[in-house]
Subunit: 309 residues, 2 copies
């Protein structure tokens, strides 16, 4: 799957991923009105609205991008119907040929992490059958519980040729509360990066590992250091756009081969029509605004990479 | 809800929680056979089996215990139908008057953590309505991303009078990979404990905080230290029984008032009939074996607390 991700990045010339993190407040009223008319102001109505919104954005952008990253929290907020919409979104993106990164940030001990890995990336045995639960291609995971939490995911990834992005240095302001604390002269996130590099060697694709890392666009200096520590790992970079990261901040997340990073934007793409820059599209053409924002993001990042050569 | 949890612990004289972490391999064949007959060897069939299994165990034990802790990973492994079974289990336990601790170990940045908090503990606004998603009473959360990850949960807990257990020192063997690393002379888990204590002061119940901690039974010495650091916090203690913890290891997780900790057992209770000790019940009476195991666990812990007085 890391090989497929790289192939798709090369084909699209777009080292980006669109974060499908729908909030009801982003969704144009013609979509929510239609959904509530059919299902009422219910969790099912909300789930229908986010599914229709996602579908329109995917239809308008899938030919430009290698991957999407649905954030499962935005679906879980609507309970079971929300989770149904998550699964519909995953399946639809697969139909469109996209790589799906499940932003699930799971992590637990041994058999419990195994259950998450099975449900999101693998197959569960039911009687004589082996069945897929959510079936994403990659998942983000939380390393706080150590190797026990990570290994069951790596084991499932080896069976399924799927991959991981492990949280190393997250994009949020308080990520430093624990991640920046100094241990033997180096911040915790560097130690986690060292482990990601070590774990990554156990499951290599053709040129990069199936085990990647999450490092926030908002911390470019740290990204530069972590790029060197995790030589073989792809870095998933959240925090572009709405959180403040720009193309020029991101060049050091990439390797000299122009690969090694994939930059996520969520709100900046899916709610582009709310920005002054794309206001001309209007609410009715929100999906066209998203397409324009994807084009601009690709140009910004590729321009920065060219300029840095 | 922390007041309700304490009241129920006092009424039952049982500082324990039953972990509803069903694996298909635990479930007696008369239950799986019936479920597969109705739904086939499908995810729906597996979900029906875990729901019927849970229901039988809850029916056999609810009068003895204050709380249950369903581990959502064990449900997510069966995709959407598994999540439906999780929700049915939460609702049924509420009907039976039990406090429900959602073992979800979520954690993300700002608005995303807010979405998890809303979905699991709060209400989401859909049009003019405010609706509950999963509606647990407590949730476990992962602190790796810092205060940004935790604060949205605390905010929702304040609105809803609900609570949290934050991962501090987990019960698994490799929990030390990062949690034990030394920062300014103290292990990371102590620094997380200090933060839990600080965060806990912002949302107090009558005698304890709504913000608790997770500390594994397998680390009694660390539990002793953390008990002192987090004076006002309840400690949720996993790792009893199958993972190796015993009553006598646990006395220092409690305060002198006999409160302050709630000890979880999952496999040791729900799959008790597989142990030699409870084999006489047979597979057919698995729920009676669970009841006997609950009684023994309560006696073990209360005995240890008495002996330590």
């Amino acid at each position: 799957m890391i090989n497929k991700l790289i192939k798709k990045i090369e084909e699209t010339h777009a080292p980006i991923v669109v974060g499908l993190d729908p909030m009801l407040s982003y969704i144009p009223s013609h979509i929510t009105d239609a959904a509530y008319k059919e299902f009422g102001e219910t969790l099912e109505g909300a789930a229908e609205a986010i599914w229709q919104y996602n579908k329109a954005i995917v239809d308008a952008t899938y030919d430009l991008i290698p991957a999407v990253k649905p954030q499962i929290a935005m679906y879980e907020q609507f309970g079971v119907p929300g989770v149904v919409a998550f699964k519909k979104t995953v399946d639809y993106c697969h139909e469109k040929g996209l790589v799906v990164i499940g932003d699930i940030k799971r992590g637990d001990i041994g058999s419990t992490s195994g259950a998450y890995a099975t449900g999101h990336l693998g197959k569960v045995k039911v009687g004589s059958k082996e069945l897929k639960g959510f079936d994403e291609d990659f998942a983000t995971i939380n390393p706080y519980m150590g190797l026990d939490a990570v290994k069951p995911f790596i084991d499932v990834c080896k069976e399924e040729n799927k991959g991981l992005f492990i949280l190393v240095k997250t994009s949020n302001p308080s990520s430093g509360d624990f991640q920046d604390r100094i241990i033997d002269g180096r911040p915790l996130y560097e130690w986690v990066g060292e482990k990601v590099n070590e774990w990554g060697k156990t499951h290599m694709g053709d040129s990069y590992s199936y085990v990647g890392a999450v490092v926030g666009a908002t911390y470019p200096e740290q990204g530069k250091v972590l790029r060197k520590i995790m030589k073989n790992s792809f870095i998933l970079v959240p925090g572009y756009g709405a959180q403040g990261g720009q193309g020029k901040d991101l060049v050091h997340f990439f390797n000299e081969d122009g690969l090694g990073a994939i930059v996520n934007s969520s709100r900046g793409i899916i709610a582009a029509y709310k920005q002054e820059k794309y206001a001309k599209y209007g609410e009715a053409n929100f999906n066209e605004a998203s397409r324009a924002a994807v084009c601009d993001m690709i140009a910004d990042i590729n321009g920065a990479l060219e300029a840095a050569k």
